[in-house]
Structures are given as structure tokens and as C-alpha cells.
């Protein structure tokens, strides 16, 4: 419902400007690839496991390609050539290459038609992985059904996947609809995905394919018992963004945190690397129907939520445009925002409503991801619980999509089991109490809420116009987002970016792009 009378033409303008901004990086994505993208392809071809010193096979194979100065042609044809030579499958061949038992072959010395036939077969299998995941998840949703929005999103972060499993079960029992396993905090900067089940992590648990499998299995069991489909979330961010997306597709994850700029700004990851990996990870999400969650909430933890509200909206528009470029449909674009205005500001709640309602109206079909207060959480847990209650009310009133549960001990430690329970109890209380409030109220046409939303949209338009002129990469370099400056040639992971050579091929991307959005 149009509660705030926004200017439709202005909305059209900002969306089209955002599309232009996203378009500026499309050419860069066409021209370059990354080591992460190549490792992702290997994973989708069925390559897994580790060699000697715990190095994942995909990493070792790509490292060898880099060593031999052949990375610019990509991994696929080189792999296809060895498959033809040995008559073995991708997984076996990759392992042999990784153990340096057999050398890589030069595809040029093979019949191109045969190479391309193997390549197409690899691409078919890779896309099958994504299609099967999509279908399995749809079957689970058909069987158990989805809860009403806002979906209650709860984190576990023990560092030990088996302990997370216990915590997740209890959270679902207490009402959680979505379980996110927070990653070990240093993982975004690892240029490989750890292997196997893990029991040690700081502030979270390592994202590994085996950990995904363990948690998915536990949630399937609990979905069966509770009679509702419980979604699983992890993080496709950092230096292994698209690889994580591939692992997530194998293990039927439902959502991935995946932002177009988060890694650049907050982890100092190179922007070319991020934009390319992000695009490929989103293609995977599109095909496997994984909902992305973008990270705009982070802008407000470093900058002020009143002064910089427009940077959230601008980033949402850019994230949306980039997501659509990567074939994601509205229902898969969980744009982020947060309840982070200083609670001492008089009428802060009204401004929060204005921001949340603005997001709701700009993206009516997106499952908006609404983040709880963190910055003004206190070590007084009772006060913090009260903050979360108002956040819950803002969420239900503006009909948000994905509601990240605020935790009363946010400022102290990773949540205890009882903290989750109290949080979910508070959410259920407010959501039940005020379920229809949003449908009942209208805002005063010239009031605080309407004027605030309009002002944020005006400021957003100004920033987007500026970004369109100077370019997104230059905008980031100038600190237009979160006051953090990152240069095009700076940051981690730049050495993993390479220019595609004349013989480069990526049959998986080609196929997904060619076939477009698939719903069946």
C-alpha cells in the first residue's frame, strides 16, 4: 500500500540511474575473471577434497594454472583436455593434477570440437547441480509450507558446528523460521574454503560444505517435526564469494549474505575482485533460487543513521540493479537496512518507520532484510531488550520480509541459548499484537514520517546522479559510502584478478546467461 505519496517519476529516475551505474561495471566483468570464479567452476564440475597440506583441490589446480601462466584461458578447457587424454572424470583428473601426478594439457593441441563437447558436458552437469538444488528446495517448501512474513531470522555462532546444531534446533523450537550460521570472523579474508566439519572458530563457525550439509540435515529433521520449512543461511562474501555460492547450491542453502560492496568497504577486498565474484555468485543464486541478503545495515554501524540514510537507499538501488543484471528476480533480492538511529533523538521511532516504509515502497516485491539495533545496544540487557521491542514493532508495521532477531546480549557476547529464546518470545509477542497495524494506519500527508522519507529519497537521487557522473568505482574511492575510501587498485585479492585471454571460456556462465530466468 502506498502510505507515503512518493513521486513515481522520481522512483523511475533513481531506478534507471542505478541501472546505469550497475551497467558501468558490466564491461569490466566481461573483460576480467578471477581465480575464485575458476575455482567455483571446478567445484560445480564436481571437484572437491584437499591435498597434502589441507589445500583444497580447486585451489591447487588453479594455482598450477597461474604458475604455468595459463590462467587467462580459464580452467575449463585445460581440464577438458586432460579428461580427453586420460578418459577420466573431472574430479579424478583434478585430484591427479593437484597431486602433480599428471600435467595440465594445452587444449590447443586437441581437436577443438572434442574439447567443446567435453566442455558442454561439464557445463550441463554444473547447471544440473543448481537445478537439482532449486527443485529439492521447492519440493521441501511444497511439503512443509512457508511461514508468513516477516520471517524470523536467528543466528547461531558457537564456532562448533555440532553445538550450532543444538542451538539451531532449540531456536526453531522457539519459533525461528531461518537459521544463519555466522562465520568465523576471519574467514572472509581466507582465499580458500576450509574442508570438512569444524569445531573451532571465533565469533562464528567456518563455512565449509560439510558444515552446510550437517546443518541442512538437522534443519530438515526439525522441519519435519515442526511442520514448517526452516531456511538455512550462510555468507557468500569475502574472497571466496562465488565458491561459497556453489557449495551452498550443493547443500540446498536458501539464503546467502551477498553484497555488491560490503567486502570492498568493510574488508578492504579489491573492488574488481568483488564485483566479478559477486556477479558470478549471483548467477548461481539466480539459477539455484537462493535469496541474497545485502549488507546496507553495515553503513549505519560506522556512519550516522540519520545523516547517511540516503547511502542505504542508494546502495539498495545499486544492489538491486546488479542483482537484476545477474538474473535475480525480486523474490530473491533481500535488500538490507537497519534500525540504527540514536534512540536519544526525539521521535527516532518515527524516522525509523519512515526509512523502513520508504524501503518497503521502493521495493514492494523484495523480501527486505531488516536488521536490529546494534550500535546503541547497551550492556544493560533489559534496556537492550526494550530497544528490540521497538524494532519488532517497526518491522511488523512496515511489513518487512526477513526480520533478523535482535538479541538482548548483543553488546556482550555471541548469544546464549536463552538469549535466542527471549528474543523470539519478544518478536512473537509484538508480531501477534500488531499484525494488522500497518494495514490500518495512514501517515499524515505533511507529517514527520512522510517528509523524512521524501527527504531521504531526494538525497539518494543526488548521490546516484553524482555516482553516475563519476562512476561507481570512483565514488567508492572518494568515500561516498560509509565514509570509507577504497581505491580501484587497492585491497586484498587483486592478484587473483586476470584479464580473459582470446581462448577464455566459461561455459557455465554462458549457459546460465543464455537460458535466463528459470522458474520450473
Amino acid at each position: 500500500m502506498e502510505k507515503i505519496p512518493l513521486n513515481k517519476e522520481q522512483i523511475g529516475r533513481v531506478k534507471s540511474t542505478a541501472a546505469d551505474i550497475a551497467g558501468q561495471i558490466r564491461e569490466m566483468i566481461r573483460t576480467y575473471s578471477t581465480v575464485c570464479v575458476e575455482r567455483t567452476l571446478l567445484r560445480l564440475y564436481g571437484v572437491d577434497g584437499v591435498v597434502d597440506d589441507e589445500t583444497p583441490v580447486p585451489n591447487r589446480v588453479v594455482d598450477i594454472l597461474v604458475e604455468e601462466n595459463r590462467i587467462d584461458s580459464g580452467v575449463t578447457r585445460a581440464l577438458a583436455a586432460v579428461m580427453i587424454k586420460t578418459g577420466r572424470d573431472a574430479k579424478t583428473v583434478a585430484e591427479l593434477i593437484a597431486r602433480r601426478r599428471i600435467p595440465l594439457e594445452d587444449p590447443a593441441s586437441y581437436d577443438m570440437e572434442r574439447i567443446m563437447a567435453v566442455e558442454q558436458e561439464l557445463a550441463r552437469k554444473a547447471v544440473d547441480v543448481l537445478d537439482h538444488s532449486r527443485k529439492r528446495k521447492q519440493a521441501a517448501i511444497d511439503r512443509w509450507g512457508l511461514p508468513v512474513q516477516p520471517w524470523k531470522y536467528m543466528i547461531t555462532a558457537t564456532g562448533n558446528i555440532y553445538e550450532d546444531r543444538t542451538q539451531a534446533r532449540s531456536a526453531v523450537y522457539s519459533g525461528a523460521d531461518i537459521i544463519a550460521v555466522i562465520r568465523s570472523t576471519a574467514q572472509s579474508l581466507l582465499d580458500y574454503i576450509p574442508y570438512g566439519p569444524t569445531t573451532e572458530g571465533f565469533g562464528g563457525t567456518y563455512a565449509t560444505q560439510e558444515n552446510f550439509r550437517i546443518m541442512r540435515k538437522a534443519l530438515n529433521e526439525v522441519s519435519e517435526r515442526q511442520g514448517r520449512y526452516v531456511r538455512l543461511v550462510n555468507y557468500a562474501s569475502g574472497l571466496c564469494m562465488s565458491e561459497i555460492a556453489a557449495c551452498a547450491a550443493f547443500e540446498d542453502l536458501d539464503m546467502l549474505l551477498n553484497d555488491s560492496m560490503y567486502g570492498i568497504l568493510f574488508r578492504d577486498i579489491n573492488m574488481m575482485r568483488t564485483f566479478i565474484d559477486q556477479y558470478v555468485s549471483r548467477l548461481i543464486c539466480s539459477r539455484a533460487k537462493i535469496i541474497i541478503n545485502t549488507g546496507e545495515d553495515n553503513y549505519l554501524t560506522t556512519s550516522d543513521a540519520m545523516e547517511n540514510a540516503y547511502s542505504v537507499t542508494a546502495s539498495q538501488l545499486i544492489n538491486e540493479a546488479m542483482a537484476k543484471d545477474a538474473l535475480l528476480t525480486d523474490d530473491l533480492i533481500g535488500l538490507g537496512h537497519a534500525f540504527e538511529i540514536n534512540p536519544k533523538i526525539e521521535n527516532a521511532f518515527l524516522y525509523e518507520i519512515a526509512h523502513a516504509q520508504l524501503a518497503r515502497q521502493l521495493f514492494p516485491n523484495a523480501p527486505l532484510k531488516y536488521m536490529p539495533p546494534t550500535k546503541y545496544k547497551s550492556t544493560n540487557i533489559f534496556y537492550s531488550h526494550a530497544l528490540d521491542t521497538m524494532f519488532n514493532l517497526a518491522s511488523i508495521t512496515t511489513n518487512q520480509g526477513i526480520h533478523l532477531a535482535g538479541i538482548l546480549t548483543e553488546a556482550i557476547h555471541t548469544p546464549l541459548m536463552q538469549d535466542r529464546y527471549l528474543s523470539l518470545q519478544g518478536i512473537d509477542y509484538v508480531f501477534g499484537l500488531a499484525r494488522g497495524l500497518g494495514d490500518e494506519i495512514a501517515f499524515k500527508p505533511d507529517g514527520l514520517i512522510v517528509n523524512r522519507a521524501k527527504r531521504v529519497l531526494d538525497e539518494t537521487e543526488q548521490l546516484l546522479d553524482e555516482l553516475k557522473d563519476i562512476g561507481l568505482m570512483e565514488g567508492v574511492a572518494l568515500g561516498k559510502f560509509a565514509n570509507i575510501k577504497r581505491s580501484r587498485d587497492g585491497g586484498k585479492g587483486l592478484d587473483g584478478v586476470f584479464k580473459k585471454g582470446p581462448n577464455y571460456s566459461n561455459p557455465v556462465m554462458d549457459r546460465i546467461e543464455r537460458e535466463g530466468v528459470i522458474n520450473a
Binding site: A157, T158, G159, R169, S170, Y173, S174, S184, T185, A186, L189, F202, G203, F266, R267, D268, T301, T302, S303, D304, E307, N342, K344, T374, K375, S378, T379, A411, I412, H413, T414, L416, M417, Q418, R420, Y421, L422, N483
Partner: protein, 251 residues
């Protein structure tokens, strides 16, 4: 009970009433509630009431309990260290730097180790500051470098040397299994190994930090939750001035 002896205050002096919440890994029911009451009794609480027992799942129960605590302590014997901070505002601090140090001061801050939270270091350093109190970046007489989160001790030291810092602000926000203590200790060991300990003022911050704990860990000062940027700035400035006076006296 003599006046200096104290115990928790519920609604009557010396009633010793405490409130606690905890989880037991058992299914809720009369047996679980009894177990909670007995357990609270083992904590030496008397007249225990289990006010609330709710099932979180079929194997975990959440309790809120009240009881009367027996021990009393002699308050006159309690001593606590606090970083002594002269109260000064933004203008006074800049003024003191100009007049008493006669040079700009340089501060580098970081969240170290695996902790990804910049909330604490940002509250102190970012232009905007915290609770209407400007951050160090805003001070014309302070060069403030915020390195963000997940900074290694080596990187922090390298930056501190490169920019010739006067003070290091080291933050740890969210912790698990005492990782913050480990990280703080590791940095201090590194400083000592590099024989750089005395070159900088080293200040710890975060929700688990008290001045006392910081001193114990070998830091110059510690600031806990709710600290304002001006308190940290005032501490740095006054300490640098004191050190300068001491140095001059030695010469």
C-alpha cells in the same frame, strides 16, 4: 550489621535479594523446576523461588529465579582502580595540546585479532563520535588513524611506527571463550618482544574491559562501555603532558 558491610538490595536494606536467569539442559517439568531450585541453593542462595520455567525445546529449560544471598562484604576494604581522567571538553583538550605539548599528537586505533566489530573503535575515533561527543578524527590537534577490524598486531605496530604514533587504541568488542584476553596479551607480548612497549601509550577498550584488567594485562589504561571519546583524548593528553614533565625533570 555495621554500615560499611553491604549485600544486595531488593526492596529492604540487607535483604540480599538477587535475581538470576539460567538454562538447564533438561526437559521442563516439576523435576526440572526442583532441580533449578536445588541448584540455586547450591549457589548458596536461601529462600529460592523459581519464578519462571519455560521450555526452549524438549531438552532445555529457561529459568528465572530469586533468592536471598547470605554473604556480606566490608565496603570500606574495597579499592578499585579507575583511569584517572581529568574532565575536559573538545576545546579544552585541543587547547592543552597546543599550549602544553606544542605539537599535534598522533593516535592509531584498531580492533585486533579475529574480532570483526568496529563499533567500539569507531565510537572513539570516527568524526561523528559517540553520544554527542566528537570522535578523535574531529580534533584539529590530533591525527587519528582508524585501521578498522581484524588487524594483526604486526600491522598495528608497523602503522604505529610509520606514523610515529603517541598512543595505540586497541579494541575488542565481541568475544568468545576469552579470545579478547588472548588477543590483548598477544599484542603486549609482541610490543615487549620488539622492545617498543615504552614508546607508546597503549590503551585497551571494550565492553569487557576495566582499567584494572587493562593494567593487569600490561596496558597503560583501560576503558569500558559508555566511554566517551573526550575521556580517552583527555587521558592521552594529560598522560603525555605528565610524561613530558617527568622527562624534563630527569634531564
Amino acid at each position: 550489621m555495621p554500615e560499611q558491610w553491604i549485600k544486595p538490595y531488593g526492596d529492604t536494606l540487607n535483604d540480599g535479594l538477587v535475581q538470576l536467569s539460567f538454562t538447564l539442559p533438561v526437559e521442563n517439568g516439576p523435576r526440572a523446576i526442583k532441580a533449578a531450585r536445588i541448584y540455586a541453593g547450591k549457589l548458596n542462595l536461601k529462600n529460592v523461588t523459581v519464578a519462571c520455567a519455560e521450555a526452549m525445546d524438549d531438552a532445555h529449560t529457561f529459568f528465572v529465579a530469586y533468592g536471598r544471598a547470605e554473604p556480606a562484604i566490608d565496603y570500606s576494604e574495597i579499592r578499585a582502580e579507575e583511569a584517572t581522567v581529568e574532565h575536559m571538553d573538545f576545546y579544552e583538550i585541543n587547547d592543552r595540546i597546543r599550549k602544553d605539548l606544542n605539537r599535534r599528537i598522533c593516535v592509531v586505533g584498531a580492533t585486533i585479532g579475529s574480532d570483526a566489530h568496529t563499533v567500539g573503535i569507531d565510537a572513539i575515533m570516527n568524526m561523528k563520535g559517540y553520544n554527542q561527543d566528537y570522535g578523535l578524527e574531529r580534533y584539529p590537534e590530533i591525527d587519528a588513524y582508524n585501521m578498522g577490524a581484524q588487524v594483526t598486531g604486526e600491522d598495528l605496530l608497523k602503522t604505529a611506527m610509520d606514523i610515529n604514533a603517541d598512543a595505540l587504541l586497541v579494541s575488542q568488542t565481541v568475544t568468545q571463550k576469552d579470545a579478547h584476553l588472548h588477543n590483548f596479551t598477544e599484542l603486549m607480548e609482541l610490543l615487549e618482544a620488539e622492545q617498543l612497549r615504552d614508546r607508546f601509550l597503549v590503551i585497551a577498550g571494550g565492553p569487557r574491559i576495566t582499567h584494572e584488567l587493562a593494567i593487569e594485562l600490561g596496558y597503560d589504561a583501560g576503558f569500558g562501555p559508555g566511554t566517551l571519546p573526550s575521556q580517552v583524548a583527555a587521558y592521552i593528553v594529560t598522560t603525555l603532558i605528565k610524561r613530558r614533565i617527568m622527562l624534563n625533570a630527569k634531564c
